[in-house]
């Protein structure tokens, strides 16, 4: 075996130099999460160790992602191709600013949600492997943000999907099983659609490496007058990712399932999963197929407007707090979709900033409402009340998050909305701007009503006296998220610069391509 290789020149197909240690940063987040998840599965009986190991690993994940972001923003995209094969033969992991910053935001949200779960997840949830599923979910999320290969992206989608099933049915309540069934079937159809598109993509491009696709898209467009193959491809991608991101008209799985699991799980899903869909949509339509996106922009914009308006109306009509937040998540998706539809530099960086804001704020909003529900013993708006008198500090934090989610100053929701408004007015799409404003107004109404009823009004029945007060396990995550939201509302420059740099990297992927093909190799 060993000797037969000697006569063949391996340098044409294999990497011959050792990769730099910093290149490993792009692999390690995902590998760390898989390893931790596997460890937790092995020691499934020692439930007490789970939380310690998982939270340490998530803290390490935050550090790794922060290092990766620092590396990427100072020295440009990082890439590693598996198995020593040269790209595009091997599967590449490639991180640019966009991927790294999303991965960091997701890691922070997951860490804080994991701390919250110390109180929220009971012993039976732990025995069912809550933390193991959480680790695998984060492996899927990190993998999706950092991979540089379309088929590999599909695999990470499936990884996070199957771990999200595990999280959804944690309590095995009939309600959860029903929600999980609807969620599972519709999401599976969505990812199958993605797989079909990958097949078409391979038939057209003959490659699955994103940098290679970005490099070849121009010449394939020039080869033929017929726009049909690439248009079909883009339309299918948009449909598949919109399904994943919960955009109208393929978003009915979200309000059907997101209110059924434990509140920590809802927070993780609302914060992370839909954003993975938006990430993939931005990555594929803005970086790989920008010309075709331009042609579809009216379709995407229409979907964006409907997503926003119908989501906001849905939020207004809900009596159950958790279902209401599900609709607020959908409104955010509409906003990001508007950015994708416009596609200008301001719009894309607005969409990226919105995604970052949404990861933090939606996680926080679920946690806050979960805590409100725990303190009063109900999630029904008609029965909630008296929270301000009972927990003033918690209420102040909630107010910050409620304002941030509505997009009001001085919190982080304001800036992406302004950027998206400016971008849509720049191209004269007044109806898009109007939809953003109207939906923001309706969401403000819905959330302000929650605040009026649940916090200011005296408790209707005077019930729920048994609930224990907020302690550090719930106060720390909510406080940290509220602080993040406030800091980035008052001092948004670093984030604005980052999302602008991320959008620039997508508009001109030459640095991304160079990191995968350093010598400009043409295999």
């Amino acid at each position: 075996m060993a000797s037969s290789f000697a006569s063949i020149d391996l340098a044409a197909a294999m990497v011959t130099t050792a990769p730099a240690l910093s290149d490993w940063l792009v692999i390690l987040p995902t590998a760390l999460m898989i390893l931790t998840g596997a460890t937790l599965m092995m020691i499934r009986k020692s439930v007490r160790l789970h939380a310690v190991i998982a939270i340490t690993a998530l803290a390490l994940l935050v550090v790794l992602d922060a290092l990766l972001l620092w590396q990427v923003s100072t020295r440009g995209p990082v890439s590693m191709t598996m198995g020593g094969w040269l790209p595009p033969f091997g599967i590449s992991f490639t991180a640019d600013i966009f991927g790294a910053v999303m991965a960091l935001a997701a890691a922070i949200a997951a860490l804080l949600a994991a701390i919250y779960s110390l109180r929220d997840i009971d012993a039976s949830g732990l025995r069912h492997g809550f933390f193991a599923f959480l680790m695998l979910l984060m492996a899927g999320v990190s993998g999706a943000f950092l991979t540089g290969d379309i088929f590999n992206l599909y695999v990470w989608f499936e990884v996070l999907l199957i771990s999200s099933f595990g999280l959804l049915i944690l309590g095995s309540e009939p309600k959860q099983i029903e929600g999980a069934l609807k969620y599972a079937i519709l999401n599976l159809i969505g990812t199958t659609l993605f797989l079909i598109t990958v097949g078409y993509l391979y038939a057209i491009f003959g490659t699955l490496n994103m940098a290679d696709i970005a490099r070849k898209a121009g010449s394939i467009r020039g080869m033929t007058e017929d726009a049909a193959p690439l248009m079909t491809l883009t339309a299918l991608f948009v449909l598949a990712f919109c399904m994943k991101a919960a955009a109208f008209p393929v978003n009915f799985w979200l309000p059907a399932s997101y209110h059924t699991p434990r509140i920590t799980v809802s927070a993780l899903f609302g914060g992370l999963l839909t954003k993975v869909g938006i990430y993939a949509l931005i990555r594929v339509t803005i970086m790989l197929l920008p010309v075709e996106r331009e042609a579809l922009s009216l379709v995407i914009a229409t979907s964006a407007v409907l997503t926003m308006i119908l989501g906001a109306l849905g939020a207004l009509a809900q009596n159950d707090l958790r279902r209401m937040v599900g609709y607020v998540v959908i409104v955010g998706i509409g906003n990001m979709l508007a950015g994708v539809a416009i596609g200008s530099s301001v719009a894309v960086s607005g969409a990226i900033l919105y995604a970052l804001h949404s990861i933090v704020t939606m996680t926080a909003l679920y946690l806050v409402l979960g805590e409100a529900g725990r303190l009063t013993g109900t999630f029904e708006l008609s029965r909630l009340g008296g929270l301000w008198g009972r927990a003033p500090w918690f209420s102040a934090g909630s107010l910050a998050l409620v304002l941030a989610a509505s997009g009001l100053p001085p919190f982080s929701g304001l800036w992406p909305k302004i950027m998206l408004l400016k971008a849509s007015l720049d191209i004269g799409a007044w109806w898009l701007a109007a939809a953003i404003l109207v939906s923001a107004f309706l969401v403000t109404l819905a959330l302000a009503r929650v605040f009026l009823l649940a916090y200011w009004r005296p408790a209707p029945g005077g019930e729920g006296e048994a609930a224990t007060a907020t302690d550090w396990r719930t106060a720390l995550p909510i406080g940290a998220l509220a602080t993040l939201v406030l800091v980035f509302g008052l001092y948004p420059e670093p984030l604005l610069a980052l999302s602008q740099a991320a959008a620039d990297g997508l508009a001109d992927p030459s640095a991304y391509i160079r990191s995968v093909f350093p010598g400009g190799l043409v295999p």
Partner: protein, 125 residues
């Protein structure tokens, strides 16, 4: 040859969509399985159909023989089969549990998480 395969894939998709439009979970599940197989066939066809030359480089040369099969779609299909198989197994358990817990396999009657008579939120303060 490709035309035949495309027609077959179309047949698979038609049957799959028909089954998935049913309101009974088990039929939806069968539709998903058919869809998965249709997609695998599609991936296979997308990678060019060739005859009987395995994509293995003989010991004394360093390139593939002419007309060798494309190994990549086969790898993709293998991955897709693994994933769709495990999803199918999981969904089967889930459907069975749903039938046990909810006492129905009709999606129309699954209204526990989304009750029809949910009250509106308070209209005044």
């Amino acid at each position: 040859m490709e035309v035949l395969f495309v027609a077959l894939i179309g047949l698979f998709f038609t049957a799959a969509v028909y089954l998935m439009l049913s309101k009974f979970t088990i039929r939806i599940l069968l539709g998903i399985v058919l869809l998965g197989n249709g997609v695998n066939l599609l991936l296979f066809t997308a990678g060019r159909i060739t005859r009987e030359v395995p994509p293995i480089i003989p010991a004394d040369t360093s390139t593939l023989a002419a007309g060798a099969a494309n190994p990549l779609p086969q790898a993709l299909i293998l991955t897709a089969i693994v994933i769709s198989f495990s999803f199918f197994a999981f969904l089967l358990v889930l459907t069975w549990r749903a039938f046990e817990e909810l006492g129905t396999d009709s999606t129309d009657e699954m209204r526990l998480a989304e009750p029809l008579d949910e009250p509106l939120p308070p209209m005044g303060y």
